[in-house]
């Protein structure tokens, strides 16, 4: 599937990498085999965006998606998830928009939401995408990390069942 052009040093082909760059920042990179204008179009056109943003494995369904991609414009995504009683909304506004090159938005569903910067850089007809999520504080990123049980429902569901079984079988000492 992927053209084998790995003679570029430092190019990790199309693998997604993530790194906690600092106390406050997560950085994700990925190479796409298409020029930036196509990657940007797929990111900023709601009909296209909704085709890829929600991985099937997440169990979530995207109910609605609005994107007004210009400086000061807003976006709003609403998801349904089997484990959530009500739809989950994610929203914010665009701080910077440079078509085919860069967009920056806020995540305002929580006070501890990050500011997300995505850059699209052309490299030999491909796109190097770099996404930075800068949290307001170390604590905010730590809280995001501590909330990981929400992101790993199966694991914790198993623990839940284990605990209930144990609690029922155990004698109180």
């Amino acid at each position: 599937m992927v053209a084998s052009r790995e003679n570029e040093p430092g190019s990790a082909n199309n693998r997604t990498t993530t790194e906690r760059k600092s106390d406050r920042e997560m950085v994700i990179t990925r190479i796409f085999d298409a020029p930036p204008r196509l990657v940007f179009e797929a990111w900023t056109t709601p009909e296209l965006f909704r085709q890829w943003w929600v991985p099937k494995s997440s169990g979530a369904t995207l109910l609605s998606c609005e994107q007004d991609v210009r400086v000061g414009g807003g976006y709003r995504l609403e998801f349904a998830h089997p484990r959530a009683a009500a739809p989950l909304a994610f929203f914010g506004r665009y701080l910077e928009v440079v078509p085919n090159a860069r967009h920056v938005w806020t995540n305002e569903e929580s006070e501890d939401g990050a500011v997300t910067t995505v850059t699209f850089e052309e490299k030999d007809g491909k796109t190097l995408l770099v996404m930075r999520e800068l949290y307001p504080s170390k604590e905010a990123l730590d809280i995001a990390i501590e909330g990981m049980d929400e992101a790993m429902p199966e694991t914790f569901e198993q623990l839940d069942q284990f605990l209930i079984a144990r609690g029922a079988g155990a004698e109180r000492s």
Binding site: N14, R15, T16, T17, T18, R20, M26, I28, R30, F32, D33, A34, R37, L38, V39, E41, A42, W43, L48, Q51, W52, W53, V54, P55, K56, S57, S58, N100, L129, M131, I145, E146, G147, M148, D149, E150, A151, M152, F156, L159, D160, F162, L163, I164, R166, G167, A168, A170, E171, R172, S173
Partner: protein, 145 residues
Amino acid sequence: MSLILRHESVPLPAFDRHAILNHMAQYSERTRIDASFAALADPTRRGVLEQLMRADASVTDLAERFHMTLTGMRKHIGILEQAELVTTEKVGRVRTCRLGSRRLEEESAWIENYRQTWAARFDALDSVIEELKRKEKRDGRKQRE
């Protein structure tokens, strides 16, 4: 730490420290889970973890904050240490408690989970982009800029 708070009403499982120690030789995941849940099943110990999320503290500080004897608090800290939720270090006469190695494991698990979410998203984005490329070819390589 919603995992901890969620279990307020579940009965306290019996905790036998010696049994845990006996199992250490064949240190299994089950033992770890046992130790964690036994440690988390007590409201004082959950309180101690929440306190240590904010800042490191000495055993004496924690005993005062939770209105208990030093011996009582030492026992709770011992259980949390056993579950690797807390580590302690004695400097002079003061034993300082901080969140344990489990937290670091959680962080790397979270980062891997985060990476996988984005990898799945970007694989789906690849398909959307392939479709756009095909469409452009069909439309005679029209440039949309």
